[in-house]
């Protein structure tokens, strides 16, 4: 399975969970996550995420 992963810390974005603490509702597609959103674990930018095999 592939998923969007933070290259600075390894945190994985799970569309089903979203990131409610930062206002990203469960079910939000990666494309719809705003560009100024940050990794909830390490604070890296959305642009620091890559599609990785997990």
């Amino acid at each position: 399975m592939k998923a969007w992963m933070c290259m600075n810390c390894g945190w994985v974005y799970d569309q089903a969970t979203g990131d409610p603490m930062s206002g990203i509702a469960p079910g939000t597609a990666w494309e719809d996550v705003p560009d100024d959103w940050k990794c909830p674990d390490c604070g890296a930018e959305k642009a620091d995420f890559d599609m990785e095999e997990i």
Binding site: M5, N8, M21
Partner: protein
Amino acid sequence: MTVMPKLEDLVDQSFDPFVVEKLSTGDCPDPYPRIHELAARSPVIEGSYRMQFTDVPDAQMGHLPQVMVLGYDAVLHVLTNPEIFRNKEAFAPNLGKSFGNTVTVMDAPEHTRFRKIFQKAFLPQVVAKWGESVVDPVVSRLMENFIHRGEADLIEEFTHHYPFQVIYAQVELDPAQGPTFHKLAIAQLLSSIGLPQGPEASGKLGAFFTELLRQKRANPGPDLISHLANVEADGEKLPDDVLVSFLRQLMNAGGDTTYRGTSVLLTALLTHPDQLAAVIADRSLIPAAIEEALRWEGPVSSTFRYCSVDTEIMGHPIKAGTYINTVLASANRDPEKFPEPDKFDIFRKNTVRNLAFASGPHLCIGQHLARVEMTRALNAILDRMPNLRLDPDKPAPAIIGHLLRVPEHLWVKFDAS
């Protein structure tokens, strides 16, 4: 084929860094009542965390202006505002002396650049593969020493060794050099308290790694060192000093912490037999048990940051030049975030994430590896040591220390095989 360089022992071979290390982490049985008391008073309190628990002065940092920051929100604020709360000045006088120019002693943009290269070697999908190839054989070899006996001290005979041996396997160290390696790794920390064995150990580890890197650049293999020695970022290889410093840090950042984390996990389960029984009955509870153990008794109680501008934390002014004791243990036992915070309860629901691995740009690089190691260790113990219980004839395990907490012994009985 590489010929492993020889690691030189300390000149004074009778010097025992483990004893000195024990003295510096203290024997405080329970720092949490004090932590709760402080956190209830204010999120920002004058003074250092360390001086709450020991009268031994801090030669490195003692004379510097310090505050403690307490509670989940305040701690998270410090960790996630790295432009204000910096690492370089905070760690140069202590860890920087032991390890050299490593990621912990850097800030952006230098940190950002090097961090990504190192993290890449420890991403979840990378370390997942080491579970079977590296961790299982280490765990299994250690267990062979006591599995037939029906009793063991899981600290002395198991947890104190396995994460270090995982690292030795990564650097393909000759097992005969293991004890010297472990000793030097602990001794290098003593630079921060001014003992001559500190720089001696850092120098000897540095010479060993420098030679190893030279060999791995000439004859790369599939191992971690070869990977790090040859990986490029923006067309550049990692500078030797940054890489050697990282490898020095790996022993302590990866070995000492995981040893303590695993010890606490096993202690917590064995002293809460109902929860141990639940995990035995349903292994899918292991991830929750690991997270709860790390929250409840995280191996790293407090870390440092340096406040680089006049600022405030939750309305409390902080002057530029103040050293911030960022008390992770107080965040993880914040009653606002974790109801009944002193209770070990693997069935906690809907909590915020704990800060045992910190947060922000310096978040632990090895967290995914640590989880793989702890999972493999616990599974092997549950598989091969049926009817596991505390030894009723021995003292109950006591987690001690104010900074890096761990029990000294964990005596257990089980059905021998």
